[in-house]
């Protein structure tokens, strides 16, 4: 039945002229297509953001290098940060959520398909706006193109006096626009999970993927809301002569810092919780065991979400808060480590006693566990406020959060690509290229980001376009850049694999990994509206029950 459906679909699409097919993609409200659009958008921006990173790394290869001017360098790190967080990490995670959540909970689409399309296009045009600043940012002042205020845009650097022209406005408006898109998607994810589950899919039987994305979506409101509010205030300041962050008129620069980090820190968890979600699906399947401690995993995630709302000022230990405030934010930050630790142990518990199949998705997950452990430990170091007075704003911090975002989130994402690509395209990704991608990226990553910690310990601040020789930073910076190049090559291997396998990959079939969640019960790629008839489930692993009628999970629940 399923192969028939696929044949029909292929026949339908291949016969049409490309304009019509393009039109279908642009006007689509199908959650699977929108998911893929999100992912493609993010991959495009990943390449752009990667090029920006490369420019910075080339500039920092030698002291007093003049590959780019200071202004260009400042634009590069501003755009790199903004792009990677808002137009790579968020869309790509939304893309996977969009694609997988309805399939996993047995729904035929998201709760609000048109809102879904609207949200996607808001994000896409937000990205376009940001990059349009290269053309339109000059304004009448000839004041420079893309924004160069840093991705957290501390006041008063963003005031008209220090940032003439329109570059900061493009930054602000782009984030407001894409922020509304994010909120729309978050509303959709929550409404889908609450209201669209198939019969029998109680909250306690949902795949962890759905649980974690539910938490993530809930956090998006509490994260993007404050960011949007702060950006609106910045607009009032810049366009209506307001004084929110105008230090000359009694306004406060620290208020912006608070607002930004009330967004900024939980944002990290908005990004990392979906990465946890990937792990929580991939590790059990490749260990051939159910997730260890399902309720604890749900509880720990909620706990992370909750505690992460009260840790923001650990980004601001150096702004001169009093010792009580510093102590408070130190302890809350350390406390986040507890549920995170529990999650790591639970994944290890899942692998313990299993029969671990070391294919590419699993390799990336193991890489995640290792790097996330280290990132968590450097996080603990940063949470000790006095230690933070030395580390914050240095390359140690840059290394730390790249460990989280690249070593953690990106590794999990690569795992997700290798795991779900067969479902999305009907073809397997090439395993040899996958292993090459993994090892190259692992080596490049560690060469780059392990060494990057050290210049920070030796006093190198972040966001400097050049540095003085003789401070012990030269060799390290050179090697870091080499590591960046190795990662770039690995990404090329990955992109090549995506393209080659799309045409030449082995046929995947419905269930190439012998997995247990509902998305593997339909054809690859899934037919329109996913399920010919809405399924009914009786346990957390419906396909396990189906494959093991003699020993179904539903017996124990």
């Amino acid at each position: 039945m399923s192969s028939d459906a696929m044949a029909i679909q292929t026949a339908e699409t291949s016969g049409q002229p490309w304009v019509q097919r393009l039109h279908e993609w642009v006007t689509t409200v199908d959650h699977k297509r929108l998911g893929i659009l999100y992912i493609l958008l993010a991959l495009l921006f990943l390449v752009i953001g990667g090029i920006e990173a490369t420019v910075m790394r080339i500039q920092l290869m030698w002291p007093h290098n003049d590959f780019v001017s200071p202004r260009v360098f400042n634009r590069m790190f501003t755009m790199h940060g903004t792009t990677m967080i808002f137009f790579v990490a968020m869309p790509i995670l939304f893309g996977f959520a969009n694609y997988l959540v309805p399939l996993m909970i047995g729904a035929r689409d998201m709760a609000f398909p048109r809102l879904n399309a609207f949200s996607f296009w808001l994000s896409a045009f937000g990205g376009l706006l940001l990059y349009f600043s290269f053309v339109g940012g000059n304004g009448l002042y000839g004041a420079g193109t893309a924004p160069d205020v840093g991705w957290w845009a501390y006041a008063p650097l963003t005031s008209r006096a220090f940032s003439p022209g329109h570059s900061s406005d493009y930054w602000t408006i782009a984030l407001i626009v894409s922020g509304f898109g994010s909120m729309g998607t978050a509303i959709n994810i929550i409404a889908t999970i609450i209201s669209m589950r198939c019969p029998g899919m109680t909250l306690g039987r949902m795949p962890l993927f759905a649980w974690l994305n539910l938490t993530m979506a809930g956090m998006v409101f509490l994260v993007i809301g404050p960011l949007t509010a702060a950006q609106l205030m910045l607009c009032v300041d810049r366009y209506l002569g307001g004084h929110f962050f105008d230090t000359q008129a009694g306004g406060s620069a620290t208020l912006w810092m608070h607002f930004f980090w009330i967004f900024g820190h939980p944002e990290v968890y908005v990004l990392v919780i979906p990465a946890f979600a990937f792990l929580s699906e991939i590790i059990p399947v490749f260990s051939r065991k159910p997730i260890f401690g399902y309720p604890v995993m749900v509880g720990a995630t909620m706990c992370i979400g909750f505690v992460s709302m009260s840790v923001w000022a650990h980004h601001m230990f150096t702004i001169g808060m009093n010792s009580y405030a510093n102590s408070f934010f130190a302890i809350t930050t350390m406390v986040v480590g507890i549920p995170t630790g529990i999650k790591i142990f639970n994944w290890l518990g899942t692998m313990w006693g299993g029969r671990i199949l070391l294919k590419t998705p699993m390799l990336f997950c193991i890489g995640f566990l290792f790097q996330f452990l280290l990132a968590g430990l450097t996080g603990i170091m940063l949470s000790a406020a006095p230690f933070n007075w030395q580390l914050s704003g240095s390359y140690f911090v840059v290394a730390h959060f790249h460990y989280v975002i690249v070593g953690g989130i990106l590794f999990a994402l690569f795992g997700a690509f290798y795991y779900w690509y067969p479902k999305m395209t009907g073809r397997m990704l090439n395993e040899t290229l996958g292993k090459l991608h993994f090892w190259l990226f692992l080596i490049g990553f560690h060469l780059c980001f392990d060494l990057m910690h050290i210049p920070g310990l030796l006093g190198m601040p972040r966001r400097i376009y050049t540095y003085e020789p003789g401070r012990g930073w030269e060799t390290l910076n050179f090697l870091v850049t080499i590591g960046a190049f190795v990662q770039g090559i690995a990404i090329l291997v990955f992109v090549a694999n995506l393209i080659i396998s799309y045409f030449k990959g082995a046929k995947a079939g419905n269930d190439p990994w012998d997995a247990w969640t509902l998305e593997w019960s339909v054809s690859s790629p899934p037919p329109a509206y996913n399920f010919a008839s809405v399924p009914t489930v009786a346990s957390r692993r419906p396909l396990w029950d189906l494959k093991h009628p003699e020993d179904p999970d539903s017996r124990y629940e």
Partner: protein
């Protein structure tokens, strides 16, 4: 039901062993590099693990403690992870049936919840002690008071009790632990956010407009200590360098006396002085005893007592000074110092005049 899998020939334990070895080596290199000690007189490497001042030393103690605990956690979890991957990986000839399906265990969950809680309690106690020790340190009566003002892209230092104004190179007396003479800095900003960071003397504290901050140094050794602005403040954030000279009490006294002198009035260089007083220089720069009282740029009354120009971006030599006046962008593109576009004769006279401001 069959498992779609062909086994791989690679020797996984060996590969993993090599990775583990490499990583341990890397951690070792990291620690060694961090702990490397520069020569005491000249401190070219501003390592946070080579402190010479009370607050920086307390931070190093804390950091060793935190590194110890996190190192231990790393060893335990990493060994566990390696063991699991090696021990439970699928091998050729494994039975095809599924392993035992285990759903969880309350006792184990409880154990790995309680242990981290205890660790956090210990870490927090240590952290809170150091926070209190550094932030709530009492200011002794004979502390030196300095007001540091951050500008785009240079530092202004004022010694309000001594009536001294200087820039970019801070002089402080060495502090004898028996009779401490720490330096307390009031941190202000004239424009955007900056951060005062001399890693070997103290952790960083931001300079934020409309938000006065305070920090203190208590250096135990004489010498030059390097630092730089650590909060992105605009185009030339990178070249907003910072030099702290820790002087012996006698040297400090001499320096203070010299700074208190009025500007040198050498009649031979009246031409250069006229250039200074009749061009845009005076809008931004001050020289005591002239009509130059500008505050946007560094005070030049004792320019020649400083070893660097442009906030540490260039050495203070006549050639560099000339270049700096004529085309600041050649040294520090984006600095707020305009190119003065003077005639060659005027520049020569001006440089000669500035060279007399000892």
């Amino acid at each position: 039901m069959r498992i779609v899998e062909t086994m791989h020939k690679e020797d996984w334990p060996a590969i993993l062993g090599r990775i583990a070895g490499g990583l341990f080596l890397l951690v070792g290199v990291l620690l060694a590099a961090g702990l490397c000690v520069a020569s005491p007189q000249d401190n070219p490497v501003p390592s946070i693990f080579d402190p010479h001042s009370t607050p920086a030393e307390s931070i190093r103690h804390l950091s060793h403690f935190v590194l110890g605990i996190t190192g231990l956690i790393f060893l335990v979890v990493f060994s566990l992870l390696s063991y699991v991957v090696v021990r439970f990986r699928r091998r050729v000839g494994d039975p095809t049936r599924e392993p035992a399906q285990v759903y969880g265990s309350t006792q184990i969950e409880l154990a790995w919840t309680v242990i981290p809680i205890l660790i956090v309690a210990v870490l927090f106690a240590a952290t809170a002690r150091v926070i209190h020790a550094i932030q709530d340190a009492p200011k002794p009566a004979d502390a030196v008071e300095v007001t540091a003002i951050g500008h785009q892209f240079w530092w202004e230092f004022r010694y309000p009790t001594m009536g001294i104004v200087t820039a970019n190179e801070l002089h402080v007396p060495v502090s004898d632990p028996a009779h401490p003479t720490p330096t307390f800095l009031k941190l202000l900003s004239a424009d955007t956010d900056h951060s005062f960071w001399v890693p070997q003397l103290a952790g960083k504290t931001d300079l934020i407009p409309n938000h006065p901050n305070e920090t203190w140094l208590d250096p135990h050794e004489t010498g030059l200590f390097l630092g730089q602005c650590a909060q992105y403040c605009g185009t030339q954030h990178a070249k907003m360098l910072l030099r702290v000279y820790v002087d012996s009490p006698e040297d400090f006294h001499t320096w203070v006396q010299a700074q208190k002198q009025p500007a040198n009035q050498d009649a031979k260089e009246a031409a250069g002085r006229r250039v200074f007083e009749t061009t845009a220089c005076v809008n931004c720069h001050a020289v005591g005893g002239t009509n130059g009282t500008g505050r946007f740029g560094p005070d030049l009354t004792h320019l020649m007592s400083r070893r660097t120009l442009a906030a540490g971006a260039a050495e203070n030599t006549p050639e560099k000074l000339r270049l700096w006046i004529q085309s600041p962008d050649a040294i520090k593109p984006g600095s707020l110092m305009p190119a003065m576009k003077l005639s060659d004769g005027d520049v020569d006279a001006l440089v000669r005049y500035l060279e007399t401001l000892q």
